[in-house]
Amino acid sequence: MADISIEQVKQGNQQYLSFIMANEEYGVDILSVQEIRGWEPTTVLPNAPDYVKGVINLRGTIVPIIDLRQKFGIKTLEYGATTVVIVVKVTMDETQKVIGIVVDAVSDVFSIEEEEIRQAPDFGHGTDLRFIKGLANVQDKMVILLEINRLLGSAILPDPETLNRIIGNLEQQAQVMTA
């Protein structure tokens, strides 16, 4: 996150774009978001993992599209009117890549101060949770802030089952937090 604007440094807060997936609200740093598009059919890539839906032509650039539900191992949902593709810029192996992620719907843009972000609880599975930046409370909702570079950048994601459990646990956590 090299490019943070001056105001944000002054205020010590960052803006996040939040989106909904399986009734859960997630946030990504808005500076990594390039644009938001509707779902459009993709060109399927041979022998790609399930969560890679294919590639699209984004004004002359070939951009892969990743279904975040599938990446997380959540049951897939038929793409509908609210389904959106968030095109993000991520840094992988020191090069910048543009990738689209399919989510159920976009929700909001909000500012969170650095000290408001709580560490994700340790679930004791020895699982690498570095792709979760932390948890934040926004208007009595819990938002899971994602470290998008790590999430898309490598195969650090735990297997879908563990991940599912973690997300379930996070939900319980949220209920504790909002209670």
Partner: protein
């Protein structure tokens, strides 16, 4: 006055490297016995502009070195010195060294090649008019005593206050002095004016310079010619060992007398290497400063003739007119028959202009193949000398243009082929005479366009391939069965197999692992092909066929289920429907088709790609026969669609490599289609390379 020169250094590097290429090619053309004055002039001019530029940019190592070359060339040019073969050798080696220096400068690295000091000594030695028979001078000691004219001068230089304002930079003058010998500079204490009177543009400095040189005093004075009225300059001849406290002695103002008076030369020389290190350190420091800009622009720029740019500008002008015309039609309230006609005309114009524009833009990337050919005269000369062979190199079609990216990648395979021709192809002069051939062998490089491709031929009139030896070797290696008989052509193809070398002994030049298989693979990676024709005793001819550009590809669109792929047209032989009676199933499940007298394996693309497909059996679909390393393979597809030129886009930019796919392109409707990598697909399907089933 403070201009950041580093922004121009990239251009300077490019020009200098071009200059070096000119020097090299002219040197190779040079007839030592009767040198053409114009050729020597050209070489001199190239060296001169490199020297001038490098001094301006502060690349003192280059400047000092080119100064030596320039002096030598100047003497030859003026007829003061007779050209000798040794000179050409030295100059060619110098070109190599300078290339190395520029490469080091561009990558901000230090340049320490031990050859530099050796060659520098050799040049100095030659310049000091010693007989040049003693070819290499390896130690500085060997020189002592020879360079007896070297003198040490102490120059006190008090700059006039206005010197900078008049555009004279003492630094440049010192650099010029440094190019005449070894220079040390010392800044003498000066009294600066009070802050209120201080003029930031004025120069208040006073230097003491010590120069060890064999140039006459007049030459040194020339350096300060422009400023001698404004500055206080005094020249003193020094004792041989210049030290700050050494007593100095004023000279009488008649310079001619002193020049002939020899100083205590041995000591001067002994000291020189030490001082030299000082000046190289300085050069290294300025290298670092200037290379910053160079690093980013390395070889990513291109020099384009203004003619091509003019064409582009014209084309864009036309496009703007067409756009205005279409805009006008668009503003009309109603569309009638007449405006519809105009609209159609406009659109046609637009299409034609867009096509022209695309062509012109592609033209910008096109460079004449002489950029690749130029290195061969030198290569052939050096290797020919090394092997004791007499060779004449003929270059044809040097103006043939091809894409920069292709050009850069074709050089290595070509070098390999030419080396092969020299090493294995051409016979020794004695053998040639014995065979009734002329003593001098010829190697011809020829480039020409043929139907959207560029053809490069490498032809020699040497011995040709030794089919018997190749077959023997192949039997030894088990590539060919002991009783298997092959046609001559099939035997020739064997040299493209990995690990195949027919050289009797591993020579210095070839046969060290990198073989023709690598050449072939490199050419295939460029979507090209290579053919070989050889006749015993007459010579060999390699024909490389390449696409003109790597950015655009002639493709055949194919359909598998609902997926559309592009297959490069160059790798397609033919497409056909195969009747059931020509399909054979092997026990391992692989299927073969019989095509004339060949059996080809068939890859079911839907299976390799995990796709749905209409045709799941060979008889239901079309088999497209593709070429991979001269081995034919069938691809099962549902349907052939249009043929069209496609612009290649990278998949790896935002995703990763996919086996069997070389890239992507965007079709007319804006959707993405993937381009098939035939070699990768064959590998993916696990079809071994030994699939010849000659019937």
């Amino acid at each position: 006055m403070d201009i950041d020169l580093s922004q121009f250094s990239q251009v300077f590097f490019e020009e200098s490297i071009e200059g070096l290429a000119i020097m090299e090619s002219e040197l190779l053309k040079l007839d030592v016995a009767a040198p053409d004055p114009e050729t020597i002039n050209t070489i001199f001019r190239a060296a001169h502009s490199i020297k001038g530029g490098s001094a301006t940019f502060g690349f003192m190592q280059v400047a000092n070195y080119t100064h030596l070359l320039e002096t030598l060339l100047d003497e030859i040019r003026d007829g003061r010195r007779q050209m000798q073969p040794d000179h050409v050798d030295m100059l060619l080696l110098s070109v190599d060294l300078l290339r190395g220096m520029f490469e080091a400068l561009m990558s901000q690295a230090e340049f320490n090649d031990p050859k530099l000091s050796e060659l520098e000594l050799r040049l100095n030695h030659t310049l000091s008019n010693q007989p040049s028979q003693t070819q290499s001078v390896s130690s500085p000691q060997a020189l002592s005593g020879s360079d007896s004219k070297a003198l040490c001068w102490q120059i006190d230089f008090k700059a006039g206050a206005d010197i900078m304002r008049c555009g004279n930079d003492p630094m440049l003058m010192f650099a010029e002095l440094a190019s005449k010998g070894t220079l040390t500079t010392e800044l003498l204490p000066v009294s600066l004016p009070s802050w209120d009177d201080f003029d930031p543009e004025a120069c208040y400095l006073h230097w003491r310079l010590r120069l060890t040189t064999d140039e006459p005093l007049e030459k040194l004075k020339e350096v300060f010619e422009w400023v001698e009225d404004e500055c206080e300059i005094s020249y003193q001849q020094m004792e041989a060992v210049p030290s700050a406290d050494a007593p100095t002695e004023m000279l009488s103002p008649s310079p001619q007398a002193e020049i002939d008076a020899p100083a205590a030369a041995p000591e001067v020389i002994a000291l020189a290497p030490e001082v030299q290190t000082l000046s190289t350190d300085k050069a290294a420091a300025s290298q670092k400063q200037n290379a910053v800009a160079a690093k980013s622009g390395e070889s990513s720029s291109i020099r384009v003739s203004t003619e091509k740019i003019d064409m582009l500008i014209n084309m864009v002008g036309e496009l703007v007119i067409t756009q205005a015309m279409l805009g006008q039609i668009g503003q009309q309230d109603e569309i009638n028959q007449e405006s519809l006609l105009l609209l159609q005309q406009g659109l046609e114009q637009l299409a034609s202009h867009t096509r022209d524009l695309q062509e012109s833009v592609m033209q910008i990337r096109m460079l004449p193949i002489s950029f690749a050919f130029n290195r061969f005269p030198r290569l052939v000369r050096d290797i020919g000398q090394q092997l004791g062979k007499k060779v004449e190199l003929i270059l044809k079609g040097e103006d043939t243009e091809l894409d920069k990216t292709v050009l850069e990648k074709i050089v290595d395979p070509m070098v390999h082929l030419v080396r092969n021709s020299l090493d294995h192809g051409l016979e020794s002069p004695e053998l040639r005479l014995a065979q009734g051939k002329s003593e001098t062998g010829t190697i011809m490089l020829n480039a020409y366009h043929q139907g959207g491709c560029i053809i490069i031929e490498i032809v020699d009139d040497g011995a040709g391939l030794n089919t018997r030896k190749i077959l023997e070797k192949a039997r030894q290696k088990g590539i060919v069965g002991p009783d298997e008989e092959l046609s001559e052509e099939a035997i020739h193809q064997l040299i493209f197999k990995p690990g195949f070398s027919t050289a009797d002994a591993v020579s210095d030049l070839s046969g060290r692992g990198v073989g023709m298989d690598v050449v072939k693979r490199n050419i295939h990676e460029l979507n090209g092909s290579i053919e070989l024709k050889s006749e015993a005793g007459k010579g060999s001819r390699f024909t490389i066929r390449l696409p003109l550009t790597l950015a655009i590809l002639d493709g055949q669109l194919i359909r598998i289920g609902k997926h559309i792929y592009v297959v490069p047209l160059v790798s397609i032989y033919e497409s056909l429907q195969v009747p059931t009676n020509r399909i054979n199933r092997l026990s391992d499940g692989h299927e073969l088709i019989r095509l004339r007298d060949e059996y080809l394996p068939v890859i079911k693309m839907y299976r390799e790609f995990n796709h749905d497909a209409d045709a799941r059996e060979i008889k239901d679909g079309l088999v497209m026969v593709v070429d991979h390393n001269n081995e034919k393979t069938g691809l099962l597809v549902d349907e052939l669609l249009a043929q069209q030129q496609v612009v290649i886009k990278s998949l790896e930019e935002n995703y990763t490599r996919i086996p069997g796919i070389s890239g992507a392109t965007i079709l007319g409707d804006g959707t993405v289609a993937l381009i098939i990598d035939v070699a990768g697909l064959v590998k993916l399907a696990g079809i071994g390379s030994s699939n010849e089933h000659a019937a």
